[in-house]
Symmetry: C2
Amino acid sequence: MLIVQKYGGTSVGSTERIKAVADRVARTRREGNDVVVVVSAMAGETDKLIRLAGEISDSPPEREMDLLLSSGERISAALTAIALNELGIKARSFTGRQVGIVTDTAHTRARIEKITATQVKKAISEGYVPVIAGFQGTTETAEVTTLGRGGSDLTAVAVAAALGADLCEIYTDVEGVFTTDPGIVPEARKLDKISYEEMLELASLGAKVLQTRSVEFAMKYNVPLVVRSSFSDKPGTLVVMEDKDMEKVLVSGVAYDKNQSKITILGVPDKPGIAARLFKSIADAGIVVDMIVQNVSSDGKSTDISFTVPRPDIQKAVRITEEVVQDLGARGISVDNNIAKVSIVGVGMKTHSGVAAKMFETFAEQGINIKMISTSEIKVSCVIDSKYTELAVRVLHDAFDLAKGD
Amino acid sequence: MLIVQKYGGTSVGSTERIKAVADRVARTRREGNDVVVVVSAMAGETDKLIRLAGEISDSPPEREMDLLLSSGERISAALTAIALNELGIKARSFTGRQVGIVTDTAHTRARIEKITATQVKKAISEGYVPVIAGFQGTTETAEVTTLGRGGSDLTAVAVAAALGADLCEIYTDVEGVFTTDPGIVPEARKLDKISYEEMLELASLGAKVLQTRSVEFAMKYNVPLVVRSSFSDKPGTLVVMEDKDMEKVLVSGVAYDKNQSKITILGVPDKPGIAARLFKSIADAGIVVDMIVQNVSSDGKSTDISFTVPRPDIQKAVRITEEVVQDLGARGISVDNNIAKVSIVGVGMKTHSGVAAKMFETFAEQGINIKMISTSEIKVSCVIDSKYTELAVRVLHDAFDLAKGD
């Protein structure tokens, strides 16, 4: 097998940990596999570099931040290659450029345009373990770029796709993907297997394990992912294409997100093009709107529009909304910061009805009022009063029998 | 004027110091100059990276060390570019590769083969201050290399040569080149001007200000150098081609080197080819021999050969010498670790006689015995007992009136 192993910041957080990573790679080699390693910066290193830049400027040029931050992964790649050689394993470090990761020119959040991986393939065929500095690429004109949050995961998945790897293992400090946050529900169970679609919903709903972009990329190129801990030998969670087994399970997990705020515009005249105008203004400001719900107003002539935005963007969003409201002649707006979004995710919903109803029923039994509802093929999300978040997660986990394995 | 300014590790040792560097660059710009900046790694950063590698391996692969260590200069280049932009000065960082510094493949001590500097020239013409990460280049096959000790100085001089710069300023933590070590002779005087040849002799004789390679490069391409402090506004020392003024001065400086050992082979048969054989074996072992003196032996049929090697290489040198001695049928060898080399340097010696005699006379007056003598056109070196080093430096400084300016 050809396995891509990605190690996060805590997994390479010290020279001792880097040696442990080398041991694991050595073991994987001994089991007869070819291995490609992708590393993040050592834990704390990126923060240190950001702090240094912050001491100099409040708005450092993004191009310079990219050169600055890409150094962290180069350091851990070199150190990991040294550790492997020390164990007698032939290993060579690779920078984003040496891998041939070509990105667009959007500094600090570049998108991968292509990966040649010629030198990496050659190194593998010569018996080397390539150790790739994650998170970075270069543009066609040789500018250094970085891939944004979760960029090293994306490097790993993209390299796995380019090499046609059999497996991409994401080593982190948790043991896999859980049915919900074990901090809220102690009985939360680690999932053995989950579909890309479910993982995508969980990722975008606030489960911190994998970034949305990496999962999308893995799904697009059908790269089997494993999320597992570098501090244990437990098998982790496999993220793959949906299969028949998965559809038997109604709900795979419960996610929550306390980091949103809700804006409601009251009494919007019922004319075409109004929603378009509002959300274009908000999007132009770089604010990502999550849920949008439109209700017919009580008088039948106007509507109420509610939507949620990330909490840090709320002031900007309110300012933009107020301008639009004046132009529209709407009655006014209200803001609610005390909300949480609680969601259930599962591919089984595609073929089973009644899942949403059961969720609403469970909330009703506990006296939890639902403020907004949004659904997709494999997800139901409800916005509720934030004080009920933990209660809601617990009762849903229980109602859908998630503590019990398949 | 086009000025290349190189700032060493202490000059960029903190974000405060980096801001001070930016201020100086800004001032140089305001005076109407184009500026190119070359930076070392922040003081302590390179040592930290070496320590991390040392925690993992006693003999890390040189290729990996190069990727590791080149990160330090990239970080300071990015931070310096950020600081300049913060002052409203258009600045862009450049890595060795982006400068187009192509080296051979000798990792950790690569030699520069060519510099294109296309992007740097373009940036200057567009009004940018290029900020170049020193110490590094890439091979024809895009491997990252470093240039060895003093590598950032070499980057600065080589870039200045490639750009046809009017001046290359080397900012460091001393105020220039002194007539001798002010730690030994408090009256030591900062030189306003010195020739490349003199600087070269002083550099190779152990004055730590500039590395030999940088001075050689500057001389070859006739790049005017200034060595000065980044902590003051004093003008520093100009290093340029020899001129008429310089020849009036007999001696420019007194240097010393306590880091050598002396080996003497006794009773070497007086046959051709013997010295060649000995010094080839030592050179093959990578040991750099400094002084070689051959005396006719007392019996007139054999000779004694004495030579000096760097102290850390003495054991290896003795082992090699002993093998050769056996083959030659020489009488034996003696080793002296308690030596120091004290030298006087000055282009005036070319046209004035009696300088060496005055040096010997000065030593004789103080009862300092001379063990070896070696001369070049602009230098006289004597090996003496190491305990007399400071005394010898002081009396020579006095004898040649070095405390007195021109």
